[in-house]
């Protein structure tokens, strides 16, 4: 660990190679199978308790953001509201539409609900602790490709949405389910790209390894753009405002869960909240140093507050920060239209993420020493990459401003107008001048003049093309 620290801190200028380690830093050798079961139960309970709290939390905070108290009827401060919600959902009538596909209709919510928990298996909630006589990390499991597991499970979870939509047997849920799934798989790509930058820095996809690699510097600092991209995609993945058009109440009834009621609906509800926690936990792990204490507190008493069970506190605090950001977004932003949202995902996020990944790869290569061992390799790379990015942004800004200007210019009222253009006469606006109607070839304009004309040329009087009533 100290070698890592030294190398990370010192290599910014010396360019010493960094030890890349694929395999997990967490040590599972002393974890018998029953202890894993115990830990699985602990994670399950941890998540469910947090769901109970987040339902209350969200409604109260959204209420305060809208200058109203939020639920305050059941229990002091409305704390028993979740219980009331749960009881209501349990006691509702469970309706199955006549045209529904029975098997899939029942499987879909359970798929969504169950898979939501699976992703939490690889997230480290704390450091190494002593439990029942064994030393075990506070993490259910870890593999060299742990982070990809979250993405994979999200992908399979999307099946739940599309199945729910299709099996309801009516149009709005089908549309909602397809939209929701398209949204999830589109933003998975952008999420993956945001994560690639983290993998480049940490040298591994194992979550415990990534947490260990952030012991000196949290990745939110050097990878702020990836952080922003990850936040946006995280909100898009979980179908939350401003990206919840697939289940938007105003547009599609309820989207894929329109026809569901009672406990099946509760499963979707639960799955959505657990997904929120999972991606928030992943964000904490990948960008905010996981379960490690903030830098100031970590230094107290040589890291006393930075190990073992204390990790749970820091991790939970950071995760709830993200949950607050979720609620804040919901309280502040209107819903994005679906086509705008897909355009944003495919045409803005993915190219931008790709460019950023290339930039990070170059910077990282300079740090590792691929561009030479001297001390100038890194600064030169940074300047070049930074310069290109800034230049690109300025060009982009100019292009957008020009397009906007052109659009506005097209809308301005023209100085000259042909009054009969729309088919019926329109009076001129102040400042406009009327344009004469274009006449057929050969016609003279109708003028009152007494100058003599040569005999052969048609005049207004005997020209057969001018209408009868304007002839002299």
């Amino acid at each position: 660990m100290s070698l890592m620290e030294a190398s990370l801190a010192g290599d910014l200028f010396t360019g010493a190679p960094i030890l890349l380690e694929d395999n997990p830093a967490a040590d599972f050798s002393d974890t018998p199978w029953w202890l894993s079961m115990v830990k699985a139960h602990m994670v399950f309970v941890y998540l469910l308790v947090q769901v109970l709290i987040v339902i209350w939390f969200e409604r109260r905070v959204i209420g305060r953001m809208q200058q109203r108290p939020g639920p305050n009827r059941f229990g002091p401060l409305g704390l028993l509201q979740t219980l009331a919600d749960g009881l209501k959902l349990m006691m509702k009538e469970d309706v199955t539409p006549r045209d529904a596909d029975r098997v899939m209709y029942v499987i879909a919510p359970f798929l969504v609900g169950a898979l939501a928990f699976v992703s939490f298996a690889i997230i480290p909630i704390g450091g190494e602790v002593e439990m029942f006589g064994h030393t075990t990390p506070l993490q259910l499991t870890d593999t060299p490709v742990a982070t990809l597991l979250v993405l994979a499970v999200a992908g399979v979870g999307a099946y739940g949405f599309v199945l729910a939509g299709w099996s309801s047997g009516s149009t709005y849920p089908l549309l909602g389910g397809l939209r929701s799934t398209a949204q999830v798989i589109s933003y998975e790509i952008a999420m993956g790209l945001a994560l690639v930058a983290v993998f480049l820095y940490a040298g591994s996809m194992s979550t415990s390894q990534i947490v260990a690699a952030q012991s000196s510097l949290w990745y939110v600092v050097p990878l702020f753009f990836s952080f922003v991209v990850y936040i946006i995609t995280m909100v898009g993945e979980t179908n939350r405002l401003p990206f919840d058009l697939a289940e938007g109440e105003g547009e599609l009834g309820g989207g894929f869960h329109t026809e569901y009621s009672s406990m099946k609906f509760a499963m979707f509800f639960l799955g959505e909240y657990i997904n929120m926690f999972t991606v928030a936990g992943l964000a904490t792990t990948l960008f905010l140093g996981g379960w490690q204490a903030p830098p100031g507190i970590a230094a107290i008493n040589d890291g006393m507050l930075n190990q073992g069970w204390w990790g749970v506190l820091w991790f939970t605090a950071k995760m709830w920060m993200f949950i607050f950001v979720y609620v804040w977004l919901r309280g502040s932003l209107p819903r994005v239209r679906y086509d705008q949202f897909m355009k944003f995902g495919w045409k803005v996020m993915i190219p931008a993420s790709l460019v950023w990944v290339v930039a990070i790869a170059l910077i990282r290569s300079a740090q590792v020493g691929y561009f030479g061992e001297g001390r100038w390799a890194l600064p030169i790379t940074l300047v070049l990459v930074g310069g290109s990015i800034v230049g690109g942004l300025l060009l982009l800004d100019k292009k957008l401003a020009d397009a906007k200007e052109a659009k506005l210019a097209a809308r301005r009222t023209p100085t000259e107008v042909d009054p009969f253009a729309q088919g019926h006469p329109v009076p001129p606006l102040p400042g406009q001048t009327l344009v004469e109607r274009p006449r057929a070839i050969g016609e003279e304009p109708v003028t009152v003049t007494t100058t003599a004309r040569p005999a052969g040329e048609p005049t207004a009087e005997n020209d057969p093309d001018t209408p009868e009533d304007t002839r002299g």
Partner: protein, 276 residues
């Protein structure tokens, strides 16, 4: 195989075989597609159990998460029915099918029976530096040429798909502003079509609105539902209005006869006044 792995295998393998059979014999296309997704996920799990974690996760992520999902989209949207015609139009297809299938089975059985498998070594040696690093070395050091060719091929395929699916915009795209102007100029349904609940007694989207004389308004139900023949009849909701109208008219008849009797009134005027 260690204990855990044996349990995993013997639980998952029969499920996978059943899913594969489901793919072949399922009635509905969606069930078949989902069985295939299950097979792919199980394969991914087997790879992970064999220590090929990266390949396993990517199998789940890409194959069942993206490829199969798109299959499913197509099946759900287009709706492949089992009621599709099973009459084969190619002449002699059955005979040739059987012949070629038997030939292939024979060849495959011959080939497989001649294969000798060396003793399994496992992936520990290859993945000495870690699973992902081992794979990376294989791809980018020993097989980089083949990998780059594949990448080029994929890019070409994507471009080909784009070109084939591309539709040239022959007329200028109509903006929202222009569409709105057109609608106002045409003068039709300027205030929007009547929503189902405006005149009817039910506000479901599939119950049409009723005009004052009781006829349903077709424009108040979405076209999709009309095309799918899912419009529900409005008769039950007219009964209450009809009963009320009858009662009022019966009452009017009483009043009319009364007034006529008592005041020897002018019949024409009264009739007009009371017939609403």
């Amino acid at each position: 195989m260690s204990g855990g792995e044996a349990v995993l295998f013997w639980v998952l393998a029969p499920a996978t075989v059943l899913a594969a059979l489901g793919l072949l014999f399922a009635r509905k296309a969606v069930h078949a597609a989902l069985s295939m997704a299950l097979v792919m996920v199980s394969l991914g799990i087997f790879y992970v159990a064999q220590h090929a974690e990266f390949v396993g996760i990517i199998q789940i992520f890409v194959y069942s998460g993206a490829v199969m999902m798109l299959f499913l989209f197509v099946v759900m949207l287009i709706g492949v029915d089992s009621s599709d015609s099973l009459v084969e139009t190619l002449p002699g297809q059955r005979i040739w099918g059987w012949l070629l299938a038997l030939g292939f089975v024979g060849l495959a059985a011959l080939a497989v029976s001649r294969v000798t498998f060396p003793a399994p070594v496992g992936l520990e040696q290859v993945q000495a530096e870690g699973a992902v690093t081992g794979l990376a070395r294989e791809i980018f050091e020993r097989q980089v040429f083949g990998f780059e060719m594949l990448a080029a091929l994929l890019v070409i395929a994507v471009m080909g798909a784009m070109v084939l699916a591309h539709r040239e915009q022959l007329t200028p795209r109509i903006t929202q502003r222009e569409m709105a102007n057109e609608r106002i100029r045409s003068g039709k349904w300027l205030a929007g079509k009547p929503a189902p609940g405006v005149y009817a007694r039910h506000n479901a989207a599939d119950t049409p609105a009723l005009l004052p004389d009781g006829t349903p308004v077709e424009e108040s139900v979405p076209r999709v539902l009309v095309a799918r023949d899912q419009v529900s009849p409005p008769q039950p909701y007219r009964r209450v209005s009809d009963a009320a109208y009858d009662a009022i008219e019966g009452q009017d008849a009483d009043e009319e006869s009364e007034v006529e009797r008592t005041s020897k009134a002018r019949p024409g005027e009264i009739e007009e006044g009371s017939r609403r």
